[in-house]
Amino acid sequence: MEDIVQTVVAKYNYWIYITLMMMGLYAMIAKNNLIKKIVGMNIFQTAIILFYVSIGVKKGATIPIIKALHGHHEAINPAEYMNPLPHVLMLTAIVVGVATLGVALAFAIRVYNRYNTLEEDEILSQIRTKTEEI
C-alpha cells in the first residue's frame, strides 16, 4: 500500500499534466462553441508545456545558468543544473502557441462573419440547408 502511495506522490507532475490534458481534449471534442474549443486547445497545450518543463527538473539543482564564468576552470557538474533542453523547446512553443491562437481566432472571426454564430450545431445546420437548396 505504501509503495503505491509513494509512486503516486513521486510522480505528481504527471497526474497534473494528464488531468489538464484530459480537460483540454474533452473541451476540444465535446464543446459546442468554437471559442471554447480554442480555449480547450490552449489548455491542452499548457499540459504539454507543463509535462516538458517538469521532466527537466533535477532535485537540488539550480537554473541552467553556469555560475563560474571567469578564471575558474573547475569541471562543471551537470547534476547541479537543471536540464536546459525542455526549457528551450517550451520557450519557443509558448510563443508559437500564442501565434497559432491568433490564427485560430482569426478563423473564428471569419466563421462568425459568414454564419453569424459560433455554435457548431447552428453552423452545421446552416450548411446543410444550403446544400439541400442546391
Binding site: I29, V57, L69, P78, Y81, V88, V96, A99
Partner: protein, 274 residues
C-alpha cells in the same frame, strides 16, 4: 457526441496513466531526458560560446535551425491573420464622429474630415468609453515596460531572458497602449506597414546571419565565421552571433504580436479597435 468524447478522453487518460508508471520520478537527475545531449550543453556552453545561460546558447546556437523556423512560424501566423481578415477596400462612413478630448463632447462631421489634432480624436460609435485614469497610467507605464523588455533581450546571455521573452514584453507594451487608448492612436505610432516590415526584418536578420556564415565559408548559422567581421576571437564571435540572432527574434516576435493584435481587435478594418 458528448458521451463519445467522454469515452475517448477517459481512454486517452487511462493510457497516459498506464504509461506514466514507466516515466522517471519527479526531480530524478538520471531521467533519460537529462542524460544524452543536455550534459554536453551544460559542460561546454561557457567554453564554446561564452554564454553562461545554457538556455540561450542552446536556443540560438546549438539548436539554431529549430529557432529559426519557429520564428518563421510566428511570422507566417502574422501573415495568415492578415490575409484571413484584413479588408483593404472598405467604404468610409459618410459622416464621422469626433470627440473633444478635454470635455468629452462628441461632434458629427458630415462630408470631409477634421485635420488631425491633439484636441479631437476620432471615434466610431456615439458611446465610446473614455477613461482618463487608465489612459494616463498606461501611458506612464509603457516606457518602463519597454526598457525592461530591452533589458530582457540584452541580458539573455547572463540571466533568464532572450529574444522571445523580450519581444513579447515589447509587443505587450504597445498592445497596452492600444487597449488603453484606441487602435488609431497606436497606428499613428507604428503604422501597419512598419509593423509588417519589422516582423519580416526580424526573420531576415536571423536567416541573414546564417547566410553570412555560409558566404564566409562555414556552415549555416555557424557563428565562428563572424570572427573576422566582428574583430573578436571565435568564442566571442559565437556569443555576439547569438546576440544578433536574439535581437532578430525579438523584433520578429514584437512585430507579429502587434500585427496579430491589431488585425484581430479591429476584425481587419483597422478602425478604433477594442
Amino acid at each position: 457526441m458528448k458521451a463519445i468524447g467522454f469515452v475517448i478522453v477517459l481512454l486517452t487518460g487511462g493510457f497516459l496513466i498506464y504509461a506514466a508508471a514507466d516515466f522517471p520520478g519527479w526531480g530524478d537527475p538520471n531521467s533519460p531526458a537529462s542524460l544524452h545531449v543536455s550534459p554536453y550543453y551544460l559542460e561546454n556552453t561557457v567554453e564554446q560560446t561564452h554564454v553562461p545561460n545554457a538556455v540561450t546558447s542552446v536556443v540560438a546556437d546549438y539548436r539554431g535551425y529549430d529557432t529559426m523556423f519557429e520564428t518563421t512560424v510566428i511570422f507566417t501566423a502574422g501573415v495568415v491573420c492578415f490575409f484571413l481578415l484584413r479588408t483593404l477596400l472598405r467604404k468610409e462612413p459618410e459622416d464621422r464622429l469626433y470627440r473633444h478630448v478635454l470635455t468629452g463632447v462628441t461632434i458629427r462631421v458630415k462630408e470631409g474630415k477634421l485635420p488631425p489634432s491633439e484636441e479631437f480624436e476620432r471615434i466610431d460609435t456615439t458611446w465610446t468609453p473614455h477613461d482618463l485614469i487608465i489612459k494616463t497610467i498606461c501611458r506612464l507605464l509603457v516606457p518602463f515596460v519597454q526598457i525592461f523588455a530591452l533589458y530582457v533581450i540584452c541580458f539573455g546571455h547572463y540571466s533568464p531572458g532572450g529574444g522571445f521573452q523580450g519581444g513579447v514584453i515589447l509587443g505587450a507594451s504597445i498592445i497596452v497602449y492600444a487597449i488603453s487608448t484606441d487602435l488609431r492612436s497606436e497606428l499613428q505610432r507604428i503604422r501597419e506597414k512598419t509593423d509588417a516590415l519589422l516582423s519580416a526584418f526580424g526573420v531576415f536578420l536571423y536567416a541573414g546571419t546564417g547566410a553570412l556564415c555560409l558566404l564566409l565559408g562555414f556552415n549555416f548559422l555557424d557563428y565562428h565565421a563572424l570572427a573576422p567581421i566582428l574583430f573578436v576571437n571565435r568564442v566571442m564571435a559565437r556569443s555576439h552571433g547569438i546576440f544578433i540572432v536574439e535581437v532578430g527574434v525579438g523584433i520578429a516576435v514584437m512585430g507579429t504580436m502587434i500585427w496579430i493584435y491589431s488585425v484581430l481587435a479591429s476584425r481587419g478594418h483597422y478602425d478604433e479597435g477594442l
